[in-house]
Symmetry: C3
Subunit: 354 residues, 3 copies
Amino acid sequence: MKVTFTQAEVSAIVQPIRTEGSTAESVRGIATLGSAEPGDLSFLGNPKYKTSVPASRATVVLLPLDYDGKPGPGQVYLFVDNPSVALARLCSRLEQELWPRPAAGVHPTAVVAPGARVAATATVGPLCVVEDGARIGESVHLQSGVFVGRGSVVGDQSWLMHGVVVQAECTIGRRVRLHPGVVIGADGFGYEFVGGRHEKVPQVGTVDLGDDVEIGANTTIDRSRFERTSVGEGTKIDNLVQVGHNVAIGKHCMICAQVGIAGSCTLGDYVVVGGQSGLAGHLTVGSGAMLAARSGVKDDIAPKTSVWGSPSLPLLLEQKIIILRNRLPELFRRVDALEKAAGLEQPKAPRGRA
Amino acid sequence: MKVTFTQAEVSAIVQPIRTEGSTAESVRGIATLGSAEPGDLSFLGNPKYKTSVPASRATVVLLPLDYDGKPGPGQVYLFVDNPSVALARLCSRLEQELWPRPAAGVHPTAVVAPGARVAATATVGPLCVVEDGARIGESVHLQSGVFVGRGSVVGDQSWLMHGVVVQAECTIGRRVRLHPGVVIGADGFGYEFVGGRHEKVPQVGTVDLGDDVEIGANTTIDRSRFERTSVGEGTKIDNLVQVGHNVAIGKHCMICAQVGIAGSCTLGDYVVVGGQSGLAGHLTVGSGAMLAARSGVKDDIAPKTSVWGSPSLPLLLEQKIIILRNRLPELFRRVDALEKAAGLEQPKAPRGRA
Amino acid sequence: MKVTFTQAEVSAIVQPIRTEGSTAESVRGIATLGSAEPGDLSFLGNPKYKTSVPASRATVVLLPLDYDGKPGPGQVYLFVDNPSVALARLCSRLEQELWPRPAAGVHPTAVVAPGARVAATATVGPLCVVEDGARIGESVHLQSGVFVGRGSVVGDQSWLMHGVVVQAECTIGRRVRLHPGVVIGADGFGYEFVGGRHEKVPQVGTVDLGDDVEIGANTTIDRSRFERTSVGEGTKIDNLVQVGHNVAIGKHCMICAQVGIAGSCTLGDYVVVGGQSGLAGHLTVGSGAMLAARSGVKDDIAPKTSVWGSPSLPLLLEQKIIILRNRLPELFRRVDALEKAAGLEQPKAPRGRA
């Protein structure tokens, strides 16, 4: 973040109830209390860090009304109802500076087929390709180098970053954000083994992303064999995730980075999948279920249950078994002692390897 | 799939032996018997779903000759020798509609070096880059935004989707399909640690993909240090897979999503690698071997053997050990009881954590 | 590698102390002694392969001064101080042939904003996009299809391959190499759960890559919430790695393929992370620590320690426990025998499943 604000501009955004001190320095960054340097704005979001405020070198500090202290020279304390909310307001403003709304229109280097329909309020950036029959909705922003294939639809206010690929006949909802390198609608991985070769099963379905979906960089969501692969309204997917063909993900789920969801899985609403987890094909995961990071799931998961491990178990059981696994050296010694006490013969050969 | 067919068009493709009923509605999608809605075509591929036929709302249903039943009003039953084969024929036709053969020629926005050779029957789509000395074979389709580096060869009838990158001096066989974001021939990961720094080991080899290879979106296959990284004829690789430098993958393998194959591994023919598995460097995997999903392999695997787990074991042994691992709480209780019966002292401190 | 050298050209590069034999054949590849064919150059890098030299079909062989033997007809032995060093010299030369320095200047199809500053010695290849306020340093090479966002800086002599994306306000050091599909500065994955929906937390920080960093194909490094995500000087990152927001990676680390580092982790210098490992958020990994492949880390790691497993343990302990885990069938049998000897009742129901 290299945008700069004057003290007056910051105050106009966060609207402090009380101000102490003043500065001629402009705010050029946001930082935690401990790491802030002159030119940074910081904030006391959690009372337990109160003691870090006096030593903070931040030029501007957002503080709760009940904070008791005075700024140093050239430092400003802005007292607000809720410093976290004030910070969020500032960040939203910064986000607008970082991603200014581009002018509507089609860049002259973009290749838009005559049969495509682009809303007058949409922006099609440099070097985009929009194929025949595609529809680009109101206020959509295709950043640059974006591909929207034949017959696909991008809903109003959606935002596709550089290099996003939407293959033919897919539907992107409204206010969707796709980060660079996302691939929507590549073929699902389906073959039949015939005569010693893998014959391709045509993948003639589509992908359907609901409203307010956000998908991280280089994530891939395959088109279905037929019907549709779908991601429900409000679901957020992180980077480098693989979603196989015919998968149906519900609403408001959180799918963390590098997760893999094999073909034909069905996830309910509000499911949380921790990073690097994997789901085998054709599973059903109930609404509100939680998969801890690196879970490997091969059975259905009931609604509102938590699992962990690979193959995954109920969370509490897996936690218990991990502790017991770590006690295996002790357990082997105890069984050795029992055998000795009972006068039983003990295995010898492999012991030395442990 | 949003292409539409009239009843007559469907019949022309699947050539039913017998037809019952008729409809003026056009077929706009394919769906399973249970999920089909009016406008969909469905099929009875497996006799066990026979009872789902009468309630299906599909407008057209493909049925085996021995199915006994009558369509509802506005519904059509098409009786065929093999509904699955008939469906496959329809899907192939749909695939042609979804991916119409583009006209041959080089799009005016493509950047093709004067020293590149592009076959007259090939299509080089918008915004592609073809460097000097590259050769693009007969009927090749570079969709758009594709990069083919200096001296690389793309074999006849291959199909490179939007944003595929083929770095310099690589060879792509015939009828190869590379999905969006595939990167062929980036540098292998090789360094020597000299004087406190990682000095790059030049990666001056190539990548060689055999005929009929298909590679999923955003998968990466690194060029070798010297010689070549190779993928054999007919091998299929899913999305987000990493293939390291100097790897040799045999013919007709199946590599599922998010697998990582470290440098200098050799895989035989007909190897199947389950999703999210990883292979350490310099391993040999025999022909016909099978790695279950999420296997972590650090030793060679003999031909036609199956492994699972991380570090992987023979499949049946791993299955057995997973069951025993889940019984650890029971085993600790049993050892407790034995010690009590034998009057032996029992460990106390860590027990409470489990 | 398809570049060719005559015998004289090879000699000029490796400067042999002594030469035996001669050939009119040109060298077209490099191969190991055993796999070399006529037209290849090979080398004896390790004395233990000495016996493979006489049978090698390589046209040119680099040998140590003390090697005792004569080339076959049409074969050349070049005796040098250190064959590995000589090979490296040849490979560096090959690398120059493979990646010839392009002419400086901006390709006419590139889209460079008027407010961007491009050094006169830099090369901006076909179909690149350089936004307003971006600065491209001396001798930088943007291969083609590269995106450099508003206000971002690319340091001198850096090299960004086809399709690399650097979002707004990021900083790339000097002599950095980014392979195809790398995404720098996509939004971090941050939401607050408000009223049944995931509300986006603006990600208004940046990414800062140090000098001499190299990053593999399709790896993603997210911008921070505020402040910066950073990668230290000399660190090398392989393909398909995910680096979350606010992560700080130190100098001269090695991060292997498909690793995932969750948000706000801090890694010291000279950390090695094996392939497919994952780190939970907010962890600290000390300098010189080593994570074996497929480690799943959820606790801080002390400097210079090695860990393995998921959840990870100290390396030697994990090695021991893996061996004991594999002996679980034996342990259950031993406990069975103990119970039998002690006259204790044994569990029955689940046994059959193992």
